[in-house]
């Protein structure tokens, strides 16, 4: 009984092949893992953990909602209240797209310790919609015809303000003066004067004040903060954020409700301090297109991008702002620009430097927007050592000429076109994002964040944080200071566009550098300022 060498070769020849392939696979996997952990150790980045919030115990907070439009409905859902109409809409959506998890997400959402006790909306259809769904035997909801009535009723502890921009400050100030807690939507204010008034009111009030920049709850942004603080990017000299939209909704041409009329809408209350124009449905539903009520790109969308980065970098108000643009894509009677480029200068700001002291300082933050093209341009932070793409995912690429990474680049451990760090808390969650626009919002952290791989509505987290501040005295992430920065920056951008000149901030005095003969707030509110000022020059 003996095998010849030939037998053994024919019988066992596969073994060395098996061994070699196995070894090669195992070795290559181990090599890659080591390389990665070496790079990661060097970077020392720790992905952020979800915030721990103390329980919101005791008597439920009695909340009133002012403005039950598009945003008001969303905010109520975050508080745990969805309308019947929304359920119906979602049913249709789910038939079209079975992956749509909106209802499931909503029903899984933690129940907050709140009671919705009042609604104030000056459009009957919307106020009734809230009553129709939320007014139950256990939970009585009252409709208030003015915000003052609601604030002075003594029946609400806290209000949520989701009205057009020109109403934010007057309502918030009234509430704060009466120690009623406030959650106000962005932009915080509509004029400079209001911004200071609201600041004083918030500082003097015992009530908690929060601005509705829910993206502050996005886990990836907190991780981004850690990445930058660790010097991973080196000195960031340029930030680019963008708005790219190309549809009616994106250009604020929202539907006009068939029941809208002078009988169903309290027009005088809508106008408030705005110029007294006759009843106009277009103005009522599409108010973002006129400076009298909104502030177009600078107030509506730049504020999101600015605060997103202020939350990561904490860079404050820019020293100066220059803006340009025009009404180029939707010449439909609007007076706010639909294409806007804003350059914000921070000459004294630095994220740290890997080079000789004093060589690097200063940063430009460039916001670039068009409502006439939807090509996705991501948010990019450009540092001497690395580039970061900031979204719900984070990606960091080393720069080929980095000082910090020069040794690792030379040894071939990292490459300029291969990310050295990627953070994707959603890796195992297949999403059903249906449209380009919702992807745009999701990337800006405006829709959800991921906690332990589960999708969580960021507005829910933001409101929970506000409620915890009310009940437990914890902090809010977007309070008056952050809101002040946001509002001033947005107003600087609007002013610069309107005046066609550079607007400067005096950090010492805490005010805009004055320009002879110009009343900034008058300019901000004026509809046709650009044209008027040009005509003035001619004279």
């Amino acid at each position: 009984m003996k095998w010849t060498r030939r037998d053994l070769l024919k019988g066992l020849g596969g073994l060395p092949i098996l061994g070699a392939v196995w070894w090669a696979g195992a070795a290559s996997a181990a090599y890659k893992r080591n390389e990665r952990s070496e790079v990661l150790n060097q970077l020392g980045i720790s992905p952020s953990l979800p915030p721990s919030v103390p329980n919101i115990d005791g008597e439920p907070v009695r909340v009133g909602i002012i403005g039950f439009g598009i945003r008001g409905e969303q905010l109520c859902r975050s508080l745990g209240f969805a309308t019947k109409e929304w359920y119906d809409e979602m049913k249709i959506e789910m038939e079209e797209n079975p992956d749509n998890k909106a209802v499931e997400d909503f029903e899984r959402q933690e129940k907050l310790n709140v009671k919705l006790v009042g609604v104030c909306d000056i459009f009957d259809v919307r106020a009734e919609r809230a009553l129709n769904s939320f007014n139950t035997l256990e939970n009585k909801i009252k409709r208030y015809s003015t915000y003052q009535e609601m604030i002075h009723s003594g029946d609400v502890d806290a209000i949520v303000i989701a009205t057009p921009d020109h109403w934010h400050a007057p309502m918030a100030i009234e509430a704060l003066k009466n120690n009623v807690h406030v959650y106000v939507e962005k932009p915080m204010t509509h004029t400079l004067a209001e911004t200071y008034e609201l600041q004083t009111a918030a500082e003097e009030s015992e009530a908690v004040f929060a601005v509705g920049h829910q993206h502050r709850q996005t886990l990836s942004f907190k991780t981004a903060k850690d990445i930058i603080e660790k010097g991973t990017l080196g000195h960031v000299s340029l930030i680019q954020t963008n708005t790219n939209r190309n549809d009616d909704n994106g250009a604020w041409n929202y539907d006009i409700h068939e029941k809208a009329s002078a009988q169903t809408i309290d027009w005088q209350q809508f106008l408030g301090t705005a110029p007294k124009v006759p009843f106009n449905k277009n103005h009522f539903f599409r108010w973002r297109k006129w400076w009298a009520y909104g502030s177009g790109l600078s107030g509506d969308l730049l504020t999101h991008d600015y605060d997103r980065l202020n939350c990561v970098l904490n860079m404050g108000i820019p020293d100066s702002v220059v803006a340009s643009g025009g009404v180029y894509t939707h010449n439909d009677g609007r007076n706010v620009p639909d294409v806007l480029q804003v350059n914000m200068e921070f000459p004294r700001f630095s994220t740290g430097s890997s080079q000789v002291k004093g060589k690097e300082q200063g940063m430009t933050f460039c916001y670039s927007a068009t409502l006439g093209n939807g090509f996705n341009r991501p948010t990019i932070l450009m540092g001497h050592d690395a580039t970061m793409e900031l979204g719900n995912k984070l990606t960091v690429w080393p720069d080929g000429s980095s000082t910090r990474y020069a040794p690792m680049l030379e040894e071939g451990k990292i490459y300029p076109h291969t990310p050295i760090y990627q953070y994707n808390p959603a890796a195992n969650v297949p999403d059903a994002i249906s449209s380009a626009t919702s992807q745009y919002f999701a990337d800006k952290g405006l829709m959800w964040t991921y906690i332990d791989g589960v999708r969580v509505d960021s507005t829910f987290l933001h409101m929970r944080e506000w409620l915890s501040a009310i009940k437990n005295g914890t902090n809010v992430s977007c309070g008056i200071q952050e809101g002040f920065d946001e509002a001033i920056t947005a107003h600087m951008a609007g002013l610069s566009w309107k005046l066609g000149r550079k607007i400067e901030w005096d950090h010492e005095k805490g005010e805009l550098v004055r320009i002879e003969g110009i009343n900034f707030d008058e300019v901000l509110l004026a509809g046709e300022w650009k044209i008027e000022s040009r005509e003035l020059e001619k004279v």
Partner: protein
């Protein structure tokens, strides 16, 4: 077959078997040693008629099993093919696995092709490798080169040669 170059056919198919086995084995080992690997993305981005089924597999709890089965199947095909033993059973597993890969991202002209290099019209490399497994199933070569050699040949016979 008898009339053609029988040895040539045997050698070619043996080579085919070893190379396909090599490929499966390497894919399996790489995944085995990379704890972060998951088929979730591949399945979640699935196209074509079985899309809902593949989406189901990506659910938490299920996906871990899917990943483990996938690695096991890859290694099984790899080992049976390289060693030349139980290769027909291996070929069946290989055909099943490749059919699933193909169905998750079929090269149908009306479907979007995700993460694909090259251009395909119905037939793609997964399908070709599947046919290779079919050939291996029908022409086992383990008794010619592989552990099956020992099972087929009785050493007693060898012994008698040696006595000559």
């Amino acid at each position: 077959m008898k009339t053609t170059n029988e040895n040539g056919v045997k050698i070619s198919i043996t080579l085919l078997r070893i190379f396909v086995g090599w490929h499966f084995l390497y894919e399996g080992v790489i995944k085995l040693y990379n704890p972060e690997w998951t088929s979730s993305g591949y399945l979640a981005s699935s196209q074509g008629p079985l899309k809902p089924l593949f989406a189901l597999l990506t659910q938490p709890g299920i996906i871990d099993w899917v990943d483990m089965l996938n690695i096991t199947a890859l290694l099984l095909v790899g080992i049976t093919f390289t060693l030349g033993v139980f290769e027909r059973k291996g070929a069946i597993v290989g055909i099943g696995l490749l059919a699933l890969y193909y169905l998750a991202h079929p090269s149908f002209p009306w479907l979007p092709q995700m993460n694909v290099e090259g251009s395909y019209w119905f037939v793609n490399k997964n399908l070709i490798e599947l046919i290779a497994c079919l050939v291996i199933y029908n022409f086992p070569t383990g008794h010619f080169f592989g552990l099956n050699y020992f099972i087929k040949r009785k050493p007693s016979k060898v012994k008698s040669y040696e006595m000559d």
